[in-house]
């Protein structure tokens, strides 16, 4: 019994070690106007990585994105992009830097979502003694898992697109209210102003005509 427990513990330790090698980070953050936000990630050589980003709210829904390797070489650079996905294989060990810039905008805050996947997912139940291939049941489970992962990914993108549409609709709603009230007020002011101005023209002429008469 003690041996089995130790075996499980060793497997858990191995899982923890592996978890440090493959991971993904997805974050949504707010980028103020004229601001630049950079993120860094330590990547080992030969790892396949994917950077995906989407602008959720703000202005024209575009942002500048730039990805650099540890030596400063620009691997990916796009200006005013709304959504993009970039896959690359790390050619060097070190810290990779990717930046989002809203410096071209004067007064709109942007909300940016990004998903940076490094490497493959860690195996679920790592077993160093594994020599046999996966059974049919296990490989069916693996393919269902991959399918569900892509469903969750599509759901995320759908949610972001829906958030974008909803923020535009809410913007439109408040704008319609303000502009309508503003227009009604301007209408009243202009119509009363016209009458007052017209009246003032006629009262001046009356005094001049009487003076000319006498």
């Amino acid at each position: 019994m003690y041996g089995a427990n130790m075996g499980v513990l060793l497997q858990v330790l191995w899982a923890q070690l592996l978890m440090g090698w493959a991971r993904g980070s997805e974050l949504t953050f707010e980028l103020p106007d004229n601001a630049k936000q950079c993120f860094y990630e330590e990547i080992t050589i030969g790892t396949k990585c994917t950077l995906e980003f989407q602008v959720v709210t703000g202005g024209h829904y575009d942002v500048d994105c730039r990805l650099e390797d540890p030596e400063g070489n620009v691997l990916y650079k796009e200006m005013k992009k709304q959504y993009d996905s970039f896959t690359f294989t790390a050619a060097r060990n070190g810290s990779y830097k990717f930046c989002f810039s809203n410096e071209f905008s004067t007064f709109t805050h942007k909300t940016v979502y990004f998903d940076f996947q490094v490497g493959e997912d860690p195996p679920l139940f790592p077993n160093e003694n594994r020599v046999t291939a996966l059974t049919q049941m296990e490989s069916a489970c693996v393919s269902i898992h991959e399918g569900l992962k892509s469903v969750i990914d599509y759901q995320t993108h759908f949610r972001l697109g829906e958030a974008q549409g909803r923020s535009r609709a809410e913007d439109l709603n408040t704008r319609v209210a303000f502009w309508s009230i503003g227009e009604a007020v301007i209408l009243l002011i202009v119509s009363i102003g016209q009458v007052v101005l017209l009246r003032s023209f006629f009262s001046d002429r009356k005094t001049t005509t009487t003076r000319v008469g006498s």
């Binding site: 860094y40 679920l124 958030a163 549409g165």
Partner: protein, 219 residues
């Protein structure tokens, strides 16, 4: 080793697994906020680690005592769910009770301000949401599952997350529809109101000017 101590050991190990993660730099008084749009009853686990820039060695120190971060989490109604001070390395967790955009804000709050003069702070951050918070090796050890059972458990968790997200999507779509209908109503009523105001002011102007000119004996 008893199962309880085993679980404790595993939990301890899992909480320390932030050796390498995404990191960014933060200034002294800067507050960095991240938004998580999640359905209700979803667990979120965030882990961070801070490192201070040392001018003498021109590198980031591996660990500095006295550094602290204040973590504040707000729910979609801007009500504070979590507001706590953690040390240089911390782990915070919360479960959402209302669906929507939750805001996780971090700002540094070190006890020794002298440490910070002109320095940058490097923050390693890892936020996991929903079924990513599950630690499968831990679950396998606790419930004594075989590999197949563990895989099926993972699939069940994923499907549950998809279901929650779909429910949340239905709630969001309803809100969107309400906003569009409200805009539609507003456009309709304000157009009618403005036309009525226009007609009334036109009639009032003509009548007022007519009586004005009659009084001035010009008409």
């Amino acid at each position: 080793m008893s199962p309880f101590s085993q679980i404790v050991f595993i939990a301890l190990l899992s909480s320390l697994s932030l050796t390498r993660a995404l990191y960014f730099h933060i200034g002294e008084t800067e507050k960095k906020c991240f938004i998580e749009e999640i359905p209700d009853e979803t667990m979120v686990i965030g882990k961070y680690r801070t490192q201070l820039w040392d001018k003498q060695t021109a590198a980031f120190l591996p660990s500095t005592p006295g550094l602290g971060m204040h973590v504040e989490v707000k729910d979609p109604d801007t009500k504070v769910v979590l507001s706590r001070q953690y040390g240089a390395e911390g782990r915070f967790t919360f479960t959402s009770h209302t669906p929507g955009e939750h805001q996780i804000c971090l700002h540094s709050n070190s006890s020794k301000m002298a440490l910070f003069t002109g320095g940058k702070l490097r923050v390693h951050l890892d936020i996991q949401v929903g079924e990513h918070t599950n630690n499968y090796p831990e679950i396998a050890a606790k419930d004594k599952l075989t590999e197949l059972q563990l895989r099926v458990r993972q699939l069940l968790d994923q499907v549950e997350q998809i279901q929650k997200e779909q429910n949340y999507q239905r709630y969001r779509e309803e809100r969107f529809r309400m906003t569009s209908e409200s805009t539609n109503q507003r456009v309709l009523w304000w157009s009618i109101t403005q036309t009525v105001i226009l007609l009334i002011t036109g009639i009032w102007q003509m009548r007022h000017l007519k009586s004005f000119f009659e009084a001035k004996k010009l008409v």
